[in-house]
Each structure stands twice: as structure tokens, then as C-alpha cells.
């Protein structure tokens, strides 16, 4: 296909999208049914591990306390671990989310729709921000408020929905 017809076809697709009269729709790869998309939790946390799952990459992390001085801990004193799932490893890598880019100890912020099952995991919603190394945000803030943060995807951090 030459560039001209390609751009013409693109315009047709764009026109169809415009007829639909909505901004770009943000979709997760997953079937939504596993997740409660009525709820958005926003975390700033410390990465413990990245599983580069080819279908849905997961970042495992310990959410930080409100003061951003330590991570939340269970009664046994051990960090509470959550997982956030997103698109497959290749798609995530196009946004700079990879095992190498998010080593253990990385501080980052992300929104997610939690699993309905109650397991401590969710599907990523909105953009993901990484703090500069070892520089957590100030109390109550997220990485998008830290100078020198990096952005992994388009748009803003998802707003929390109770």
C-alpha cells in the first residue's frame, strides 16, 4: 500500500472514530471481568520483581506508606506485596516497562483496577510514572510530582476511585 492510500485509509478510520464522538478509548488487554473497573486504586510503591509475562507483564511491588518513608507492612513486619498487570511484555517494553528498566528497589506510581477475587493484584489503568532512583515523593504525593520522573505511556496518572 502506498503512503497516500495509507494516509487516506487512516483518515477514514479517524473519521469513523470521530463519528463515534469519543476520545481515544483506553482498553486493557485483559477481559475486564476479572477486575473491578468501578474501583481505581493508586499506589506509589517499591518494585520487588518484574515478571515479563508474554501475555500480561506484571510488576510486583510493596506499596509505600502515606509518609513515603517506608513500605506498608503486615503484622509479621514483612512488606505487603501487590501486583499490577498490564499488556504483554513486548507492548510494555514499547513504553519502557521492562525487567531492566524496573529493577528491584525502583520507586514508581500506578493506578489499577483491583481483582474481584480479593487477591492483591490489579489491571493497570492510566499512566505509569517512575521516580528517580531512591527518591520517593513527599508525603501523600506520587512519582508524577517528583522532579526528574520518567513517564511510561500516554497521559496522566489515573485518579483514584473508591
Amino acid at each position: 500500500m502506498n503512503t497516500q492510500t495509507r494516509s487516506a485509509s487512516r483518515r477514514i478510520v479517524a473519521a469513523i472514530a470521530a463519528l463515534a464522538a469519543v476520545p481515544a478509548v483506553v482498553v486493557a488487554h485483559h477481559s475486564f471481568s476479572l477486575y473491578n473497573n468501578e474501583v481505581t486504586k493508586v499506589f506509589t510503591g517499591v518494585v520487588t520483581r518484574v515478571n515479563p509475562d508474554a501475555n500480561h507483564l506484571q510488576i510486583f511491588f510493596a506499596p509505600m506508606n502515606a509518609e513515603r518513608t517506608n513500605v506498608e507492612r503486615g503484622p509479621d513486619g514483612k512488606p505487603i506485596i501487590w501486583a499490577v498487570e498490564m499488556a504483554g511484555s513486548a507492548q510494555a517494553a514499547t513504553q519502557g516497562v521492562s525487567v531492566n528498566n524496573f529493577p528491584a528497589g525502583t520507586i514508581f506510581s500506578v493506578g489499577m483496577h483491583p481483582l474481584r477475587s480479593g487477591e492483591l493484584a490489579g489491571a493497570r489503568e492510566g499512566n505509569l510514572f517512575k521516580c528517580p532512583a531512591k527518591k520517593p515523593p513527599t508525603a501523600g504525593k506520587h512519582c508524577d510530582a517528583v522532579e526528574g520522573n520518567t513517564k511510561h505511556g500516554e497521559g496522566a496518572l489515573a485518579p483514584a476511585k473508591p
Binding site: D53, A62, M64, V71, K78, P79, I81, G88, A90
Partner: protein
């Protein structure tokens, strides 16, 4: 959970890395897997329904089976290759997944069912080949086959919904940031 060496090796293999890094490989291979499984299931259904005397009874069982055999095996080989390609990049996760293990078990049982049928029941085939009325052993084999292949498809779909998470925490991660 400890990971056996062969699972780790599969996970670290070049093909697994390629699958993890490729945008289009996974959807194309998954779709090919669906096509292959659809063909395996469809052709086995034709043979089993003939064995049950439900459909296709106008032709001898041996003819119906011969017409499908090549298609079933070709599609099965394709399903195994695409399945292996899907497993490799996530081998460690799949290894611990119950639905995945049950699916492999069901595949082994389906194979055993086929071998037993070929070795025992099929020996009497000349006496019932052209008849819609097949022996009980043949009907039983057909029902077991249909149940197992249906289960294989259900379990395959279940894997994606029950992958499970490994929440283990590595040593030496800095969790405290005093201000």
C-alpha cells in the same frame, strides 16, 4: 516454589526471549493454536459421532476414520508446536498452574484412550464396521474421547484466567527511605 531446571531452561531459551519481545508473535500463534485445536476437535467429533452411530453412519467407520486421520494429526502437531511457543515465554508461571497441569493430564488420558481402542476394540472392527450399531466398548471410547477433548479446551481457556501470582520478595531490596 522451586522451578525444575528444564522449566527454567525453556523460560531462558532464545525462542522464549523472542516471544516475549515480539508484539505480534503471541496473537498470531494463539490464533493458529485456536485454528489447530478447532480442527483437532472437529475431526475427532466426526469420528466419535460415527463411532456412536449418531452421524455419518452411511459410510463404514474405517472410511470415516481414514478420511479424518491425516487432518487430525496434522492439526495436532500444529497445536503442539504453537502450544509450546505459548508456554515457553511464561514457562515458570504455567508450570505452577493447576489448569495447565490438568490439561496435560487430560491429553495423556486422551492418548491412552486412543491406544486402548486401537489395540483392543478396533480388532473386532470388521464385524461392526459398516453398521450404525457399534459395540459398547467402542461407544465408551467415543464418549471418553469427547469428554476429554472438551475438557482440554475448557482447561486451556481456564489457564489464562487462573495464572496465579508469585509474591515472593527478593533479598536486599531497599524499602526504607527516611527523610
Amino acid at each position: 516454589m522451586s522451578t525444575p531446571a528444564f522449566v527454567q531452561a525453556l523460560y531462558d531459551s532464545g525462542i522464549a526471549v523472542w516471544m516475549r519481545d515480539s508484539l505480534k508473535a503471541m496473537p498470531l500463534i494463539e490464533a493458529t493454536h485456536v485454528l489447530a485445536i478447532a480442527t483437532v476437535f472437529g475431526t475427532i467429533l466426526i469420528v466419535d459421532l460415527r463411532l456412536l452411530g449418531v452421524a455419518g453412519t452411511g459410510r463404514p467407520y474405517s472410511v470415516v476414520a481414514r478420511e479424518m486421520l491425516g487432518k487430525t494429526w496434522t492439526a495436532f502437531v500444529l497445536a503442539v508446536i504453537t502450544g509450546a511457543l505459548m508456554v515457553a515465554p511464561n514457562a515458570i508461571t504455567y508450570y505452577g498452574n493447576t489448569a495447565f497441569r490438568l490439561k496435560l493430564l487430560a491429553l495423556v488420558l486422551a492418548g491412552l484412550n486412543m491406544v486402548i481402542f486401537q489395540l483392543l476394540t478396533a480388532r473386532t472392527m470388521p464385524t461392526w464396521d459398516t453398521s450404525a450399531k457399534t459395540p459398547t466398548a467402542a461407544r465408551t471410547a467415543a464418549i471418553i474421547s469427547l469428554v476429554l477433548w472438551t475438557a482440554i479446551i475448557f482447561l486451556g481457556r481456564w489457564i489464562g484466567f487462573t495464572k496465579g501470582y508469585d509474591f515472593s520478595v527478593p533479598e536486599d531490596v531497599q524499602f526504607e527511605f527516611p527523610q
